[in-house]
Every structure is written in C-alpha cells, then in structure tokens.
Symmetry: C2
Subunit: 635 residues, 2 copies
C-alpha cells in the first residue's frame, strides 16, 4: 500500500517536472519568436501538440530567410539606392528605445506597435525557471533523462559506428576537410596567432618605420620612435617577448589574461596594431584581419565570425567603426561580424563618462535605430550593419556582483550608482533593445541580429537561465555541467553552444574535464570555436588545431566532428541561402530529410538517431502533461 | 640495537644498489664506445672518478665530429673521386660480417682487428642488468630517487618559472618558433598527412591518367585502369574513403593499424604511391617525400629523419633503394635518413625467401660493407649511405615470442626454424654488425650510424634492457613507466627517447596517461616526434601539431618545449657542424656552458638545474661505492 502511494507520488512528481519543463520551453519559444531567433521545429511541433494544436511552417521561428547580406558580384560597400527616411521618432524609456511614427505620437507617448518587453514580466518568468532548476523532483527527472541520453548514445555508437563510417566512406568528394566549418566564437583583436602578429609588426617596421602611427599627449610618434621609447628593436622581438600567449599564469586569472592583449606589455602596441580607431585609422588592425580572412578564403571551407567591440562610451563609436569597416574594405565572403559589448558600465561611471546605465545603452543602440530609420543620413552604419549578424555581451563572469536582479531593480535611467548591474540586468536590456530593433528592421526587410552572449564560462548558474530566455545561442556554457535541469532544457530547446576547450584549458577548466564531448554525446547542439588564437593556438590553422586536438584527445569519429561542423554552420550568422548551400536545400526540416550528406558528411543514421531521440524525450513530456489533463478532466 | 642493524642493512642495500647501477652504466658506456654512439660527458666523468681516474676530452664517446654529409654548394649525389677499393674480403660468421685484409687472412681466419662482439659476453652482461632491474633494494633505491627528481623539479618550477621566462624574453630574435626541431621518429611511407596524399592522388590522376603505373601478373595498367578496376573515381575520393587515418578501431590493434597503410584498403595504391621500387621507379613516392621536404625547407627550422625500409629479403634491396634516392634526387638539407628493418624473418622463412636468419642479416649488412670497402663498385649505395644516419628495428612489440634469448640460442646460421627470433636476438645482431661497420667506416673517415630501434612501445620490459646496451637512442620508451630501475638508468645515461604521444594515443596509451611530461620533469632526455602523420595528424604542420597538443594539454612552458626541441637536435643524426650551429659552439660541454641560449631558447637556469641535478645523482652513486671501497680497505 505504502509502496503504491510512493509510486503515485513519484508519478505526480514526474508530471509536475514535465509540466514545468514544458513551461520553460514555452517561455523560450516566446522570447525567441519576438527576437527572430531560431527555435527548433521539432520542439515547436511538440509544444503545439501539448496544446492540441498543429504546427505549420508559417510559425517557423527563424531569422529572415529572404535576406542575404551580399550577393556575389555586388559591391558590399555600396551606398547607392539606400532606403528612404521613415521619419520615425526615437526615444529611450526604461533603457529601451521606443519607436514613434512621428513627433506627435511621441508627444502622446503612443509608440509604434513593436514588442517592447518589460522588466517585470521578464523577472517573473525568469524566477519561474530559477525556481524550477532548484526543484528536487525536476532535478531528479532531468538527471535521469541525461544519464539515459548518455547511455543511449553509447549503445548507438557500439551498434552503428561502423555503419556510420560506411555511409561516410560512400559519400563522394566530401570529407571532414571540405565540410563547412564556422569559427563561431573568435575575438577580432585576437584572431591572428602570435606568430602572425609578430611577423606583421616586424614587416611594418621594415617598410614603414618612419610613418607616424601614434599621437600621445599632443606629440606624434613614428613607428621607429615608438620602439625607441620602448627600448626595443623589432628585429629582436620574439613571441616570448611579445608575451601575448596564455600560460600557466592565466589559469583562473582572467585579469592577467586580459593584460595579454598588450603586446610586450605595452599598451602603445595594442593601440597601434589592434585598434580600429587610432591615429592610422585602424589600418594595421584591418590589414591583420584581412590576412586572416585571406587564409580563410584560401581554405574555402572555413568561416569565422569575428567579434568587434562597441563600448557604449559615446554614440559616435558606431560611426567610427562603420567607417573603418568600409574604408579598410573588411568585407570577406568567409566572415560575418559580431558586436561584443563589454559589461564595464562601472568603469565608465567611475570615470564619469556616462551618468547612468541608460546612457550606455543609448550610446550602443540609438545609432542602430537611427541608421535603420534613416539610412541615407547614417550611410556607413547602415551598410556595416548588413554584415553584422549578432551581439555579444562579454566580461569575466566569475567577478562577483553585489547587485541582485529583481523586478524591483532600478530602471536604467535610475541606475546611477557606481556598481555594475548584474549579468541578467545587462542581458535583459540588450535583448530588449535587440528585439525592438529586429522587429523594426524586419518591417523594412532588413537583416535581424542574433543575441549571442558569453554565458556559463564561470560565475553563477543564473547566467544560464537569463540566456535561456534571451539568447539565440551562447558561448562556453561550461556551467551547464552543474545544473541537470538547465542542461536538459538546453538540450530540449537545442540551444547552440559555441565551445572553446583550449581557451577553457588556459583559463577555467582543464581540457580533460571539459564537458564538450559529454554534451555532444547527449545531443546538445555544440560547436567548436577558437576564442583567441593569439593567446591559445600554435599553428597557422587555429580552427583546425582546435578540431584536431578535440578529435585526437576524445577519439571523436569523423561523423562526430562533421556533426560539430554542421552545428557550427547551423548556429552561425550565415544567411539562409548559404546554409542551404552548405547543409542542404531542406536543412530546416527535421532529421535525415533535413540533411544532405553530400554536403555535411554527417551520416543519416546519426541524424535519424538524434531526431528520434529528441522526439522521444519531448513526447515523454507532452504525454505526461496530456495524461494529467485527461485525469483532471475525468476527476 | 635491532634498529641499528636494520639501518646498517639499509645502508648496505644502498651501497649494493649504487654498485650495480654503476656497473650497468659501465656496460652501456663500453657498448656505446664500440659503436661510436653518444655517451654523455657528465656521466662519463663520474664513471672515471669512481675508478679514481680523470676524464679527458679524447675519451669523448661520440660519432665522428669531422664528418659532414654535405657541404653547402656541393653535389649531394656526386660520384666523382670515390675512395679506392681496399680489396678487403668479407665473410659472415655467427651472423656478423667479419672483415679480412685479403683472401689469405680469410683462409687463415685472421680477421682485421675490429671489435666483433660475441653473443655470450653480451648475454651475460644482459643478464646482469636483467637481474638488477628485479632486485628489490635497487628498485627501492631507484624509485625513491625518481620520486625525489620529480619533487625537486616541481620545486624548481615554483621557484624559477618566472626567472626562466624572463631569461627567454630577453633573448633577441629567438623563440619557440625559430628554434630548431627535429622530427626524430617518422616513417617515410607515412610522412605526408592524409589530406596531402589525397590531393597528390587526385593531382596525378588529373594529369597522368593514361600513364602506365602498375604491372601485375604480366599485365600493365594505367592509372585510369587501376581506378576503374577499383571501381572508383579519384575525383570522388575523400579522406574517409582513403581510410588511412587511425581511429578508435586501432587502439590495441597494431594489426589493424598496419593495414591503414593501404589507401582505400587497396594494396595497389600503396604499391603505386608509397613504394620506392615499383613500375614507375618509386617516382610518386619520391615526389610526395620531396613535397614534405619542401615544406620543411620553407619552415627553415624544422627537420625530419624519415625511416625507409630494408627488409633483408635480397641483397639487391640496397642497390635499388640507393638508385631510387639518387635518381629521384631526394636529398634535402632538412632531412636525414634512417633505415628501418622490420622484424619479420618468420614471414620470409615461411615463404622460403631465406633459409635462415643469417641470410637475412647478410642481405641487410653485406652490401653496406661492400660499398664501404669498394665504393667505386657500389657507387650508389656508397653515396646514399652518406645521407643515412641510423638504423631502426621495427615491429609490433606486443607480439608474443615463444623463443627466449640466452647465450645458448642457436647462431643465426643455425636459426632455420620458422619461429621469429626474440627481440633481443634481433637487436644484438643488428648492433653487432653496425659496430663492425662503424669501425670500418671510421678507419676510412666515413660517417658512422646510430642504432635507434623502436623500443618499449609495448611488450616485455626486457626490450628496454637490450636497447640500454645496444642503442644510441630509442623510439617510444613508454614501458620505462613500469621499471623504476630502467627509468633511472635511462636518466643517468641520458639515453634519448623519441616519443610520439599522439601515435601512442591511437595505438597503445591514452594521451593523458602518456609519461612524456613526467619523464621530462624528471630530466630524461625526451623529444617529440610524429611517427605517422598520415595516420594521426590533421593539420599541414604535423610536428607543430604534436608540440601544440603537448604544450596545451600539459601546460608546458616555453622553456619546456624549447628543452624538448633541443633534445631532439641532440639525439638526431644531424652532423656535429649542424649541432654546433643549432645548439651553440660548445654544445658538447656540460651544463650552461654547453648551451647557447641565443640559439636554443632554453634558459640557463634550466640548464644549470639539469646539470647540477644529474651531477648530484651520479655523485651519490660514486660516493657510495667509494666509501664501500674505503671501508673494505680499512677492514
């Protein structure tokens, strides 16, 4: 009898767990839809069926499929035929840019009908998920499902390894080397390796020693003078003296790591060589990036999405960055651009650069709205934005924050204190502005942006909750190790995770303890990325080095690495057209039908396994909720 | 009282251990001297002092210092001005080639005075060392010393890491990228990576499809016909279908690994592309190797010592290989050549290709003696030998042998059974012939050869004992993990070990369990090598990939990797002149004086640490023996 009751209890627990998991998925779907982020079709179908609805293709949650940044042969910098000025008015309210049809509606405070999220709703939904990840029965349920996924994959491997290999062998002309791979997480300022930077510095010194490259305190310096002041002969410079490589000293020392961005520990060299806005108009930095782009184009099958910084110190940053991009002709078919925003309001506030957090947000986002509303007045920004595919929020996550995010947190305009807002507060406000912007751009038929923050590299587990709601995909995600519920949710929603085990190995987590392989086996959507070739990699081909080490160390099969490469294309900012070309015409479809093995080199057996497994997990949840509903009706 | 006796016992134990360790070192020194192998000066000095003698530079045990294979600008294939015929007579006896001044002394069996080792002495000395490695007190002693070496290095690291780094930073123009590195263990047939081989096959098919490349069963085949027979279009060929890469299937399956040498599992392609003696005179194989050599020359700082096979099936093998080398112009300043002899007598015997083991040895060694005695008659072999620097003995060491090596083992002429001789038997006979040959060549002022067998990759620990006596340096050495006595001896004698952790990872030992880092820390003379880029590596720079992975995974410092690179040059077959150029004028001297930091980028602090530590260990041994001698005299 007791046993019966216990079983009943257990069953109710599971029903409860299923219900809350589905709720979390509904929340993510809602936020994804608002932002034109990607939400997987399979999961969406099950969510519809839980509500006794039927999914249709029109509901596909996805960035625009008609948009393509640059058509071959077209001038990527063209400023001809720019769209008309819409004459909308713009105003920041509660840290979010509101769009008004004209000055009148602005005065009447009647904004255009765009989704303006509010902090209160977000905070409530966030607390839902937070409660859930701490709920005992839900934890048990997710833990068991994840264990099951692991064992199931091992079984799949034992049974089908040779069959998968056979499939791959029979694919003509396609192998791991010529499947498309995207370096989904790479900082532009560290996208060249140390040897490359060294050679570049030496080359410039050889040919342009007498060029004025720096202005400091009103004085101008030639390259020669800079090195004289540093008491260095560039000929003698080595990767050792350059000292940009992460070593044993950087482990758990993000602060030390950041100073590695200064070649020879000299901020002058960073200023001259890896800044876009300096005395030489960022020419050297641009040349370095173009050399990296050239190598990618040569390799043909490798792409990268370098991250450039916008700080929010001043509204002119966008103009300056865009002009640099266009003047230096940085477009490459193998590159897409991501904007990273460092979470350093506290520093700007301390230096009195901004009076409150809203100002920082305004500096970051207002120029984007202006360029979208009136392209002809903000030509460069408008053009540059065509090549930008996403936003990143970046900083050391392990830094402790004294502030806690609640629905009672001060509004950005009122955030005048010197403390930095917490991680979630940053994420919400970036996300909120991005969705308004995306919807506005969608109206104009322009490209939209993905939100792709650094998340779960270190620090609190709540970061991963915030990103589950707001991000299209995340970088790192190591801390998913620590929460079975979140890990299972990231699996169910197939939230892409760009992982950089070599970077982690130098900073936060030893290679052998990196969860990438485990995540891959369970079926999470992981990709491999380099993060900072300048600091971590040795060979000329950083992304290949990253794949090689993962493949060697974890004995990944060809099918495994090709699956990772496929994931990287899927989660990248490449256009719908490119994804069709690289993954197959029907890549949006579920399972094997969506996979063109001749392009991805991922076995159909693997695709079928992944699809069936995901369907199985989702149907458990839906069935539990439905049977509960039936039971309720019956009672 | 009891305690006193126990202490006395302990002390006597240690004296005994010290004595036997020194005896083993004396034995190795003797065998090294006979072979013109390298024996470290520091260890030699202490051995002299144990005998109350003083070491002098004339005793240096070393290959010839005056010899240089090719002077820049000289024709490496020149057959002009070859030395005169010495008219010596040659005859194999007990599996060893004996040299006679003329036919008369041959008849009288009065060979020239060269060191002809005998199996009995060797077997006795071998059993000495074998007994020693099983001796309890000696094991305890060595185990404790090795633990001490490890802790001492950790302490050194904690104290001096930053100081070492500072030293390196202050070295102008030299860093890890431009210190010389030698790939000390790489099989010529697998020296290109899989992508390279694939591209080469496609290229040849594109340009030479109608060329006859194969003769089989009296029929000639063009490249096109070969692929038609295989039902393959080379355009569709991929690294997957090529299937030469080691995967999870090869772990602990050396047999499966070997079949990976057959592209697409087709022995025809191996025959056409990676054989030196085929219908196209090994042209494709040569072109592949020359492309690898070209990359090394481009890199400037990387060298390799590819291993080519001589099987001992027939005496003509040398002539054929030498002609191939010269005709195809394989010389590269960045390559030296090693001859690998597979231990597969049993297969040849079974196929009745050789009647006994002596015949196989004769096929391998007689041509070398002939070319040395009468260069004008064996021009090609004579010229090729100038570029050969060593011999390797190679096969799966884990194969069980029914035969045991003793002084009663049948002589090679009597070894007519179908079973394969044991490992030690192979090693002794190869070594024996090499030392006679080396001494003969030394008389003529020619280059000598190093014996560099595969050893300790798997199988019995006795392999490492045989090599301790006979080898200049070894490849793999993993099993030193299992014997503290041997590990300590390899340390004291600084026997170089070429290690290939990526190869081991695919075949015998997971990367994280590889002892390389531990060996390095204790001070063993280890280098990094690739073994088979075709099977293991992913990027274009296999050796750099090997270093990058080791550096990343084990968090090696720049000083560590530069020390490994320095070791690789030291143990390589590069000439004395080249070593002076790459390591410093005085590289033969002990400690920091022998190190030119401007060339090696190894910190002098590190060099001093290594030298003091080795001296410390050796002086313990010598002091123990001396105090015993004093005690004996006194009693």
């Amino acid at each position: 009898m007791m046993e019966g009751i216990q079983k009943m209890q257990l069953f109710e627990d599971y029903e409860q767990a299923a219900k809350t998991l589905l709720t979390a998925l509904f929340i993510r779907e809602k936020y994804s839809r608002l932002a034109y982020h990607r939400f997987p079709r399979t999961t969406a179908k099950f969510l519809r069926s839980a509500n006794n609805e039927i999914w249709s293709e029109e509901e596909e949650v996805l960035p625009g499929v008609s948009w393509s940044a640059t058509v071959e042969g077209e001038d990527p910098y063209s400023m001809e035929d720019l769209p008309q000025n819409l004459n909308y008015s713009l105003k920041m309210k509660d840290g979010i840019i509101y769009v008004y049809d004209n000055e009148d509606t602005l005065k009447q405070d009647q904004p255009r009908s765009l989704p303006y999220p509010d902090l209160e709703t977000f905070a409530i939904e966030m607390s839902h998920v937070l409660a859930m990840i701490a709920d005992g029965p839900t934890k048990t349920y997710c833990h068991r499902r994840l264990n099951f996924l692991m064992s199931k994959f091992h079984l799949h491997e034992m049974l089908n390894e040779m069959a998968e290999l056979k499939e791959l062998k029979s694919v003509p002309h396609r192998d791991f080397y010529n499947v498309r791979k995207v370096d989904t997480h790479i900082h532009a300022a560290a996208c060249m390796n140390q040897k490359h930077l060294l050679k570049f510095i030496k080359d410039t010194y050889k040919t342009e020693a007498d060029r004025v490259v720096l202005e400091k305190g009103g004085k101008k310096f030639t390259l020669k003078q800079v090195f004289e002041d540093l008491k260095m002969d560039p000929y003698d410079l080595t990767v050792d003296s350059l000292d940009v490589h992460a070593g044993r000293q950087t482990f758990h020392r993000f602060d030390k790591f950041n100073s590695k961005y200064n070649p020879v520990g000299a901020s002058e060299l960073r200023e001259i060589y890896i800044k876009s806005d300096n005395y030489i108009n960022g020419e050297y930095f641009a040349r370095l990036i173009k050399e990296v782009a050239h190598d990618l184009e040569e390799s043909k099958y490798q792409h990268a999405e370098p991250r450039l910084s916008i700080y929010g110190r001043a509204p002119e940053e966008w103009d300056s960055l865009s002009k640099w991009f266009i003047k230096q002709k940085l477009y490459s078919p193998n590159m897409r651009w991501i904007i990273q925003v460092p979470r350093i309001y506290d520093i700007f506030r301390l230096k009195k650069i901004v009076p409150n957090f809203a100002k920082m947000l305004e500096n970051i986002f207002l120029p984007l709205f202006q360029a979208t509303v009136n392209p002809q007045k903000h030509k460069e920004t408008y053009v540059f934005l065509k090549h930008v595919t996403g936003f990143d929020s970046v900083d050391d996550e392990s830094k402790h924050s004294d502030q806690i995010f609640t629905y009672k947190s001060p509004k950005p305009e009122e955030w005048t204190m010197e403390e930095n807002p917490p991680y979630t507060y940053y994420l919400f406000h970036m996300y909120a502005n991005i969705i308004v912007l995306n919807n506005l751009r969608k109206e104009r038929g322009l490209n939209t942006f993905q939100f792709r923050p650094h998340c779960g590299e270190a620090g609190s587990i709540t970061h991963l909750v915030s990103a589950f709601l707001t991000a299209d995909n995340i970088s790192h995600g190591l801390n998913l190790k620590k929460s079975p519920v979140l890990q299972y949710l990231y699996y169910l929603a197939q939230v892409p995770i760009a992982m950089s085990p070599l970077s982690n190995n130098s900073l936060f987590l030893e290679y052998s303890k990196n969860p990438l392989r485990e995540f891959l086996q369970k079926g999470l959507c992981v990709s491999l990325s380099t993060d900072d070739p300048l600091q971590f990699h040795y060979t000329k081909e950083a992304l290949m080095e990253e794949y090689a080490i993962a493949a060697q160390l974890w004995k990944l099969s060809t099918c495994d690495v090709c699956e990772i490469a496929r994931n990287s294309v899927l989660q990248s900012g490449l256009s719908h057209q490119e994804k069709k070309h690289f993954l197959g015409e029907n890549y949006l479809q579920d399972g094997p039908e969506g996979n063109d093995i001749r392009r991805t080199n991922v076995a159909q057996i693997r695709m079928a396994y992944r699809h069936e497994t995901l369907c199985n997990e989702l149907s458990f949840l839906v069935d539990a909720v439905k049977s509960e509903a039936v039971a309720e009706k019956a009672s």
